[in-house]
Symmetry: C2
C-alpha cells in the first residue's frame, strides 16, 4: 500500500502549491495544535510536526508542516515565529508605526518546513528571502505581511507581485529545499 | 500524609514571595516546559500548568504556575504573554523605540496564576496593575519591564520602587486572588 504524505493546512491553495513544488501527491490534514513560544523557527516547526503526528495517532506516512514569519533586523529578528500575533494585535499599519524610529528597515521573510517521517524522525528545511519593510502598505494580493515586504532587488511588495511572489517566495524556497529529501520529482 | 503544593519556578525568591502571599508551605519544582503561543494569559498559564503536571507524573498535590507580561494599550494588548520574547529581542530600550510614534503610553502589567489540583482541575487567577510606559528606563531593581513600567498613581517605575513593588504588584494581586481558593491562611 502506497501512502501519501500529509500536509497540514486549512488552505486548499497552500496544499496545491506545496504539492506542485514538492512534486508529490499530498493529502491534506486540517489539524490545529498550539505552537510553542520560541524565536527559533526550526524549534517551533519541529514541535508542531511532532504534535500533529501525535494528534493523528502516529500514522505510517510523513507529516509535513510549515511555519512562516518576518524577522526584522532592527529588532534582532523579532517577531519571527511570533509574527502572526503581532499581526493580530496591530496589523501592518501598527508594525509600520513600531518601526518608525528605525533607519534600518531590512527584514527577512522566513519559512520553515518540518517533515516528520513514519518513524518519528524529523527534518527541517528553511527558505529565506531578504528584503525590506516598505514605508506604507501596498497591494491587494496576499495576506499577513505581504503588503509591507519588498524582496531584495524588487520594487513591488509581495502583495503587489501576485503569482510572481509564489514562484520564489520564502515558502517556495523552503519547499524546494525539502523536495529532494522527500523524493519528489 | 499531608502533601505540599508545588510552585513552579527556578527562583528561590519567587517561591518565598508566593509562599508568603498564599499563606502556604510550598515545594519548588524547577520544570521547564515550552509555553504555547497565544495572546490569552489564561490559556498560556493553563496549558503550562497541565504540561508541568504531566511532566511531574500527575502527582497527588496541586501544581501552581504563574505567567506575567505587559499589555500595551496602543498595541491592542501586545506583547501580553509573549513579552519575554520581545524583551529578549530588543530589551526595554527597543520597546521604547517601538512605542515612539504613540501618544497613548498606557499599559497593564498582568500576571496569571494557574492552579491544577490533584485531580487535574484547573483554576485561573489574574492580577492586573494599570499604568504607563515611562519615556526612558529608570531604576536598577527588578527585571524584565520593571524599569519602564510606572503603576497608575505612582511616579516611580517598578524598578525604582524596590520592595514597595512586590507589596502590590500584578503578581502579588494574582497570588492574593488565588489565596482563598488554595485555602491558605
Amino acid at each position: 500500500m502506497k501512502v501519501k504524505p500529509v500536509f497540514v493546512t486549512s488552505n486548499e491553495n497552500k496544499l496545491r502549491e506545496a504539492a506542485e513544488i514538492l512534486g508529490l501527491d499530498l493529502d491534506r490534514a486540517d489539524v490545529d495544535v498550539p505552537e510553542i513560544q520560541s524565536l527559533d523557527f526550526g524549534e517551533v516547526a519541529a514541535a508542531k510536526a511532532l504534535a500533529v503526528r501525535e494528534a493523528l495517532g502516529s500514522p505510517p506516512y510523513p507529516v509535513i508542516v510549515d511555519d512562516s514569519g518576518l524577522a526584522v533586523v532592527a529588532w534582532g529578528g523579532f517577531p519571527g515565529p511570533l509574527t502572526k500575533w503581532l499581526m493580530k494585535s496591530v496589523g501592518n499599519a501598527g508594525l509600520l508605526r513600531m518601526l518608525d524610529a528605525e533607519d534600518d528597515r531590512s527584514a527577512c521573510a522566513i519559512c520553515t518546513v518540518a517533515v516528520v517521517d513514519e518513524r518519528g524522525a524529523i527534518q527541517i528545511f528553511r527558505g529565506v528571502v531578504e528584503g525590506e519593510i516598505s514605508c506604507e502598505p501596498r497591494g491587494k494580493g496576499g495576506f499577513g505581511f505581504d503588503p509591507i515586504f519588498v524582496p531584495e532587488g524588487k520594487t513591488r511588495t509581495y502583495a503587489e507581485m501576485g503569482s510572481a511572489k509564489s514562484a520564489d517566495s520564502h515558502r517556495a524556497r523552503a519547499l524546494r529545499a525539502a523536495r529532494d529529501a522527500l523524493g519528489g520529482r
